[in-house]
């Protein structure tokens, strides 16, 4: 077992550093990107802390950016279908103007449609930043990153067609500038810009094609979204209902209280000084003013950087070894395959005492270690982080002469509360950092209690912000609801507590430690404190199996 002590002095069971493979020589991008990643993580942490305070962890919209996009997609579909009933390709501006003039049947729906599309852009960008900052953009998550990037581009394309549909001054401007961008491509024999010169009225076929694209792109997005979530098990599609309905209510209130105006009809033969436009979809317009080449270089550069993130991330990160299965220990109980958040474990038939055996697909495994916490006989997990390895690591931790009898051991997720090790120690807790709280085997908790800890407080990341998706969920199930591999009934649940704290929630983490320590004092010393304080009494894997 390799115990890694990071410069901060805390233990960690994440062997990323120890398992460092041969790294490629640093490229400029590989130097700048980790800094960017750290900066993004720090900013997110601050924003999360504020949002957690104002909305509680469960309803923190920043944690729900991905599911919020899905909810907004549904809102856009519903409102879009309604608006479609009133749209006429033969008289696009006139039909939208009629809709705008009727506050009951249309304009507020149009407002919701537009604001929902804007929020979808913002939420998608936020989701991408979070995935990048948390290092969830490469390795087995490459498919999700690439498909997500393309989804973002499709959202822009869909918005572009939506504004062109209205055919007001802004729509004309978008169409015109978009055509100028297309004209530099050597594939078109006739410049598309000519369609917008005002020489002839635009044919109805143009608006039909545009409408077709506006409807077709979201359908393509649905297909791509299926790819996006294909490698995750049990994807959460929507935010909690109260948050979903709050967002819808806010959108509706905004659309009703501030009716959406419509700009004048497009006139190719006048040059308006200003147009009222949507910067979420038209942020690129100023670049076109500097030249089509500048706009193309900027757009292609940004797209290339976005799509190249997984390739660059590979250069500055080291992929931990995927989980392995000790087939001699596997009982074929299927629990690890049920718990794996990425569907990386499947059960195969075999000849032997157990009819099934677990198999890990290394291409899908992100080495989160959650399977290690799910396996009662401790036969599965990333190398060095199986249940047995965790026990072997916890024993010296508990037998450390510096341990105080009856102290609070804080099992802290290294992506969250472990950042406040010194402060937690000051509050009376001894931090035992783990890669993911959901990977902790319940036998480790029992071992700590039997090893002399007054109580074990597990400070996991907020459930909606688990870097490995389902760690806190399975942890609660194993400790309180007898999910395999459950915390044994003999363990006093009053001495075990699970709480959640993000990396910026120092005060919350300290409060949790103080409150737990106070409750433990009220409980008095453990019933078997004398025997349990002897580390040699700690559980062995064989005992756990019994």
């Amino acid at each position: 077992m390799i115990a890694v002590i990071r410069p901060g002095g805390r233990f960690t069971d994440n062997l990323d550093g120890a398992a460092a493979a041969v790294r490629a020589p640093p490229a400029p991008m590989a130097i700048a990107a980790p800094r960017l990643e750290r900066l993004a993580l720090r900013c997110l942490s601050i924003a999360d802390t504020i949002a957690n305070r104002l909305y509680q962890q469960r309803f923190n919209p920043l944690y729900q950016s991905g599911t919020i996009v899905v909810a907004l997609y549904v809102v856009l579909l519903v409102t879009g279908l309604w608006l479609l009933l009133f749209y006429r390709i033969g008289a696009p501006w006139e039909s939208v103007a009629r809709l705008t003039a009727d506050p009951w049947t249309g304009n507020w729906v149009r407002g919701i449609h537009r604001y929902a599309s804007d929020l979808a852009v913002a939420a998608t960008a936020l989701h991408a930043i979070r995935m990048f900052a948390q290092g969830r953009s490469w390795g087995p998550r490459t498919l999700a990153w690439i498909s997500g990037s393309i989804l973002l581009l499709l959202i822009f394309a869909c918005g572009w067609t939506g504004y062109v549909m209205v055919w007001d001054t802004f729509g004309y401007h978008l169409a015109r500038e978009g055509a100028r961008l297309l004209d530099v491509l050597p594939v078109l024999s006739e410049p598309t810009s000519r369609a917008f010169t005002g020489e002839q009225p635009l044919p109805t076929a143009f608006f039909f094609l545009n409408l077709f694209a506006h409807i077709g792109i979201p359908l393509a997005m649905a297909l791509l979204f299926w790819l996006h979530i294909r490698r995750v098990a049990r994807p959460r599609m929507l935010p909690p209902k109260p948050l979903t309905w709050t967002i819808v209510a806010l959108l509706a209130a905004a659309a009703i209280l501030v009716p959406l105006p419509i700009s004048p009809k497009a006139d190719p033969l006048t040059l308006p000084e200003q147009v009222r436009g949507d910067l979420f979809f038209a942020f690129w317009l100023p670049a076109v003013r500097h030249g089509v080449a500048v706009a193309w270089v900027t757009a292609l550069g940004l797209a290339a950087v976005l799509l190249a993130v997984p390739a660059f991330a590979r250069r500055w990160r080291t992929r931990s070894a995927p989980s392995t299965v000790d087939e001699s220990l596997c009982t074929g109980c299927v629990q690890c395959s049920l718990d794996c958040p990425y569907g990386a474990i499947t059960m195969m038939e075999r000849a032997g005492p157990a009819p099934l055996v677990a198999r890990v697909d290394p291409a899908l495994c992100v080495s989160c270690g959650i399977c290690a916490g799910s396996c009662a006989p401790m036969g599965v997990g990333p190398p060095g982080r199986t249940g047995r390895d965790q026990m072997a690591r916890a024993r010296p931790f508990m037998s450390d002469p510096g341990r105080r009898a009856g102290e609070v051991v804080v099992i802290a997720c290294e992506h969250g509360a472990a950042a406040h090790q010194a402060a937690l120690h000051g509050a009376g807790g001894t931090v035992y950092a783990v890669g993911c709280a959901g990977s902790v085997h319940t036998s480790v908790i029992e071992l700590m209690l039997r090893g002399g800890a007054g109580g074990v407080l597990i400070l996991a990341c907020p459930p909606r912000d688990c870097w490995h998706r389902e760690g806190p969920r399975w942890l609660v199930e194993r400790v309180y609801h007898a999910r395999e591999a459950e915390l044994q009934a003999r363990v006093d649940r009053a001495r075990v507590r699970i709480d959640y704290a993000g990396p910026g929630e120092r005060a919350r983490a300290l409060e949790a430690v103080r409150a737990f320590a106070a409750d433990l004092r009220a409980l008095g010393p453990p019933a078997d404190a004398g025997a349990a304080s002897d580390p040699s009494c700690a559980l062995t894997p064989a005992e756990v199996e019994r």
Partner: protein
């Protein structure tokens, strides 16, 4: 979670939505300058410049029956020089060729030039520049076995004095019916 936190949360949500609404309908400057614009936009077939000779009886007899065209033609499509002068000064020129790799497709003119508002004298010339001395195929010409297509004339000129309001666009285009360059303006700005 205190009442103050709830109020602050609601205020933050409303502020975020307000920012979204503003960004969703923000003023975007697209033409800061009050000047007008001269837009040149047309499409037409370039003239076909080719040398044709009549095939002899023996040549025709040597060809497979389905290839016995009476004329053998070789040639290319004409090139044109587009020259624009505004207010008698500031001339702008461009050579225009047909589209496609062999320049035998339709030619496209698409150019926008800024011009001052007010009284403006525009002079647009579109002249064939091939100096081969070969006459182009004319409409109805069947020397090469094909009817001549409707091509753009070898010389076009538009000289016009206009009153152009600020931010107006004057579109100059080719009218196949009139076989001449014409101007098109927004109904509100034409005077």
């Amino acid at each position: 979670m205190t009442l103050l936190d709830r109020a602050a949360g609601l205020a933050l949500a409303i502020a975020a939505l307000g920012a979204t609404m503003w960004l969703s309908n923000a003023p975007i400057t697209v033409h800061a300058s009050p000047e007008a614009m001269l837009r040149l936009a047309w499409s037409a077939l370039p003239e076909r410049v080719e040398r044709c000779r009549q095939r002899s009886e023996s040549e025709l007899a040597a060809l497979p029956p389905h290839m016995r065209q009476p004329f053998a033609c070789e040639g290319t499509s004409a090139q044109y020089r587009l020259a624009v002068t505004i207010q008698g000064a500031g001339s702008w020129e461009q050579t225009v060729q047909g589209g496609g790799l062999r320049h035998d497709r339709r030619l496209y003119v698409m150019r926008e030039l800024v011009m001052p508002a007010g009284e403006v004298l525009i002079d647009v010339r579109f002249d064939r520049v091939d100096g081969s001395g070969v006459q182009p195929a004319s409409p109805g010409d069947t020397r090469n076995g094909r009817p001549g297509a409707e091509t753009i004339p070898a010389h076009l000129e538009l000289r016009q004095r206009l009153h152009v309001p600020p931010r107006a666009v004057v579109l100059v285009t080719y009218s196949p019916e009139q076989r001449a360059l014409v101007t098109i303006r927004s109904p509100g700005s034409a005077q």
